[in-house]
Every structure is written in C-alpha cells, then in structure tokens.
Chain length 150, copies 2
DNA sequence: CAATTAGGTTAGAATAATTATAAAGAGATG
DNA sequence: CATCTCTTTATAATTATTCTAACCTAATTG
C-alpha cells in the first residue's frame, strides 16, 4: 500500500478500500466485481466512485485497464509488464509472466510511435475443459490465430 | 465474395451489403460504422441485422471480433493470422502482418489448452502525433508495457 | 395456387455498462 | 469561520448491445 502514498493521490477511505481490494489481486476484476467486494465493507460506496477512482488510478499509472473482455472493463493492479491468457469460454484471465522480446520493425510501424505491446493468449481453462463454467459463449479473436501455435 | 458462397450461409441482400462493405476493408469497423455505411445504400437496414449478421459471420469464421477497443466491438474481415497496432489516442487500428513465433511454455499454461494468440502493439498514430484527431482519451493497457520495447 | 415452414429482417423495447450531472461533504488554507 | 478544492453520492443520461415479437420472403408441399 505504501506505493500509493507518493503518487500525488488523496487517499480517502473509499480509495483505500478499493486499493486494498485490488492489492495482490490476480483475478483482473471488473468495475462490477470491485463494487460488489468493496460495498460489502463499505455500504455507502457508489458505483460512480468506483469508476472515478479507477479512472484516477489509471491516469496515475497505478492500475492498467485491460482489453480482452469485450463485455466489460477489467483492471489489473499489476503494472509490471506482463501478458495474459484468456479463456475463450468463461473469459477468465490469467497472468503470463514470460518475457517476450517482440519488436515491430520500423517498416511496419505505419508512422506510429510505439509505446508498448501486449500479448493475449487464447485458450480453454481447466474448468471449462471439463464442461465447467462457460458463462460466456462467443469465441473472440481466435479464428486463424491457431497457426501462430507451435 | 466467392469465399462466402460455400460456408452454408444464406446470402440475403442485407448480408451481401454488409459483406461487400467489409470486403477488403482494413479499418476494423465497429457495428455502428457498418450500420452507417450500409444503411446509406440500404435505408431499410436495421441495427439488429448488423449484429445478427456479424454474429453469424463470426460463428462461420468469416470475420473476427477484435478486442483492443474497450468502447465498442470491432470486426475484422481479414481472418488470416495477424496482429494489430492501436493508437492509444484515437483508437485507430492498423494491421501488422509481421509473423511472430511466440510460444507459451507448458509450465506457464496454467492447465489451459491454448488455441491461439494475438499481439496488440500500442502507439500514437501519425495524425495524433501532430495534435490531430484524438477523439478518445484514456490510454489503455499501456503502463509498464514500454519495457517490452527495444 | 393456398398452406406450411424455416429462416431472416425489422422496429422498438429492454438490458447492461459506463459516463455525466448536480448537490452535499470533508479537509486544508487563509 | 469563510473559502477553495477535491471527493463522494445519488441519480439521470448515454451508449452499446441484445431481446422480442411481428412481419416478410423464398422454398416446399399438397
């Protein structure tokens, strides 16, 4: 929690509650899940505060907003460079700590100034493999991607 | 267009109009943009038809649904394996045809059965570099990712 | 050709997620 | 204490997407 003291952020009780829930959390929660968890111990919490706080934290670089789940925003308190493994059935997201050196050749940059990259691995998680969860259907961003496999 | 004849799909005028708009389109349009473009030439087009058709095409593997824009769904008629370069300001998405061999070591797969992967490169597009477009703010999925750079 | 069936399309309602607004609160400063 | 700034809250509004029910169309059958 110390890491938040010096980012020029007023640490209100609500923000602390959110930060406390996020700290060390590897489930990549959505705004909804954060709201649910935090309003338990903090019944006056408002949904707007969750979004406001997340937006602020994002600007300060204390959390990262994830893509990969087209249905809702998800947030990751782990701001160190890492990639993700996404279940195409239930949308569960796991961390991938493997470090890849991927460079986009200048000739392919289309004039963009590159600031970073992120790899999404797709797959079926153990639970879904046994006909488990599967709350979500619609496989996203998977077709044709198999050939990247080895 | 021939590629669509044999995927077991009834080629109605509406579907043809959508397919025609998508064909060779590299702008990764959203449902909204597709609707706007197609209802020009086809004023009776309904939004539901756009979503229905895209969902059907996705199931048939004729288009890919993209992640990378948290605000809306986007679709890519290019189903060959490729990656994307995303402007963190205006959310424009460009194709990256470079082929990367990235493999997730078995020890990092968390029991997932891997089906594919997708790299998102982040950057600032030429237009936004000159204080151009920038319709969107909120940089997504960029913090900490710089260190993947070379 | 009338009746039937199987999608497909449409308009509009309904949902879900997110964002905006306006009023109230809390803390710091002069 | 008055003022200022920022935060929080409740609620309304917006946006994107999905659902529903009625309608349409083409193919099929009798």
């Amino acid at each position: 929690m110390d890491r938040y003291k010096n980012i020029g952020l007023k640490l209100t009780p609500q923000r602390l509650a959110i930060l406390d829930f996020l700290e060390g959390n590897t489930t990549h929660p959505s705004a909804e899940e954060i709201f649910a968890a935090v309003s338990d111990r903090f019944p006056t919490m408002s949904f707007a505060t969750v979004y406001n706080t997340l937006e602020t934290l994002k600007e300060k670089g204390a959390v990262i907003e994830l893509t990969g789940d087209p249905r809702k925003k998800r947030f990751d308190p782990n701001t160190a460079p890492h990639h993700h493994l996404i279940c195409i059935r239930c949308r569960r997201i796991a961390d991938v700590q493997v470090d890849y050196k991927i460079d986009l050749p200048r000739s392919s940059r289309m004039g963009f100034e590159i600031t970073g990259n992120h790899i999404e691995f797709y797959g079926v998680c153990p639970a879904c493999r046994k006909g488990g969860p599967e709350k979500t259907g619609s496989g996203v961003q998977t077709a044709g991607e198999e050939s990247h496999e080895n």
